[in-house]
């Protein structure tokens, strides 16, 4: 975490929405989903099931993955109903930055 954490007595977090400052990308360990829009049918299953709201939607179409918060769980890949190649969502290996 880059921001200095203020110790307020009583474990009080008094900045609404401050959890956005915490990038959960470091939860990813070796794999991440990759999006290919050419075969995407915009069913929004990935968007519905993503636990981190990390599916980017622009102009009512799925546009990509927000890798600042994507934790690499792979639920989006699992839920995507499209079987036509190239698959809209696949898990790829990712080099882990320590």
């Amino acid at each position: 975490m880059k921001d200095r954490h203020e110790i307020i007595p009583g474990v009080v977090s008094n900045e609404p929405g401050s959890s956005l400052k915490n990038s959960t990308s470091n939860y990813r360990r070796g794999q991440k989903p990759e999006f290919n829009g050419s075969t995407c049918i915009n069913c929004f299953f990935c968007w519905v099931f993503c636990p981190e709201n990390a599916i980017i939607v622009e102009h009512e179409k799925v546009a990509g993955i927000n890798y600042d918060y994507c934790k690499g769980c792979g639920i989006c890949v699992n839920e995507c109903p499209v079987k036509r190649e190239p698959l809209p969502l696949i898990m790829v290996d990712e080099r882990v930055e320590i």
Partner: protein, 396 residues
């Protein structure tokens, strides 16, 4: 104007709570705390107390409700004992780390198994690590006085730490004694209004309390939390003096009874102190130079003051009303001995465990230990080894 009333410890506590005017009382009373809850419920039914009374499904829920209500800016109260206090265990840590001035009355009882409802300090001893301030009462008067002081200590700026007030179950909670009760306005005035800091209901300053914290900041939070209970050392003394100035009964970390020119001392907590004082009176009349130190504050442990007082004696007899299996001597004994280690003069400290499960401590039982309080040579002639843990009337 104060008045004298015949009250048992439970009613005395309920009256003190009434005079503190809590916003929420959340309870799931277990014997022997049922009379406290009953009295408070009766006061509400008779329109003598206007408070939100929550009948919760367990002690865990009762403490949970207290945490929510206190965090939202309310003055709250709950009561527990034995297994009931144990049921609150995980929440006690949360209440203290949230820095909430919750006051809880404990009717100190034995823990199952086997089931026993008599006086025993095991329940409170078992919660000494959760960051709460712990007060022990000798009788109904002290139970009443301690509840009132508890709110003032807990709500003090810089303290903001929950307080549990103990009194022996049955011996105090269910025994009617003379209690001087104070005028309601005087008590309400003494306590003032609870000024919550960081209330959850302050919608101008929205906040979250108690969220996840990684290992990069947990340590700092615990140190910050400790400042609260450390501040209470001063607050306890100040409130005890203020209470005395106001109502005539002064309180501190402990009561010294006939310790001035004593060579030996007995350390005890709770209702047994009364019996021990009688024993000391008898010994004094026989010419023995001995006295009693009745400990009132268990947390924060007054190690400095206890050390300064006890190191002047040749021998100290520590009476524990709880047994921690796997340790050498009672919990109070162990903590006291550790405190004395820092001082230059080390008296001989002996551990005696008594009254488990509510077994009565009578004068006749104490009289068997007379040799221990006599001249220090007597311990060798009495055949007792230095490190032996004694049991008073264990029945075996």
């Amino acid at each position: 104007m104060s008045s004298m009333r015949a009250l048992n410890g439970s009613s005395a506590v309920a009256l003190a709570v009434k005079q503190a005017v809590p916003d929420v009382v959340a309870v799931h009373p277990i014997l022997p705390t049922t009379l406290i809850a009953k009295d408070i419920a009766a006061l509400i039914a008779d329109a003598e107390l206007d408070t939100e009374f929550l009948n919760m499904e367990s002690e865990h829920s009762a403490m949970s409700s207290c945490i929510g209500a206190s965090a939202s800016g309310g003055r709250v109260f709950t009561t527990a004992a034995a297994q009931g206090l144990a049921a609150m265990h995980d929440l006690l840590y949360i209440a203290s780390s949230y820095r909430l001035p919750i006051v809880t009355a404990i009717a100190n009882s034995a823990l199952s198994a086997p089931l026993a409802i008599g006086p025993d300090h095991s329940d409170m001893m078992g919660q000494s690590n959760c960051g709460w301030i712990q007060l022990m009462s000798e009788n109904s008067q002290e139970a009443y006085d301690n509840i009132i002081q508890a709110y003032k200590i807990a709500e003090e700026n810089g303290v903001r730490t929950p307080v549990m007030v103990g009194m022996d179950s049955l011996c105090t909670s269910h025994t009617i004694e003379n209690v001087i009760v104070e005028n309601e306005e005087a008590v309400t005035d003494f306590l003032g209004k609870y000024d919550a800091q960081n209330s959850l209901l302050d919608s101008d300053n929205p906040k979250t309390i108690g969220s996840y914290c990684g290992n990069d900041y947990y340590f700092q939070h615990k140190l910050e939390q400790s400042k609260g209970i450390e501040s209470s050392r001063k607050a306890i003394k100040e409130v005890g003096k203020e209470f005395g100035d106001r109502f005539g009964r002064y309180y501190g970390y402990f009561e010294s009874y006939k310790l001035d020119d004593a060579l030996t001392a007995v350390v005890v907590m709770g209702s047994a102190a009364g019996t021990v004082k009688e024993w000391i009176d008898k010994l004094r009349s026989k010419g023995e130079k001995t006295g009693v130190l009745k400990l009132r504050i268990l947390r924060p442990f007054p190690h400095q003051e206890l050390g300064e007082t006890l190191t002047q004696f040749d021998r100290v007899l520590v009476l524990d009303r709880s047994l921690v299996p796997g340790t050498d001597g009672g919990p109070l004994f162990n903590e006291l001995k550790a405190a004395l280690y820092e001082f230059e003069n080390h008296p001989q400290v002996l551990s005696y465990i008594y009254g488990l499960g509510g077994r009565d401590l009578g004068l006749k039982h104490l009289e068997e230990l007379e040799a221990l309080l006599g001249e220090t040579e007597d311990i060798e002639t009495a055949g007792l080894k230095h490190r032996q843990v004694g049991y008073i009337n264990p029945g075996i």
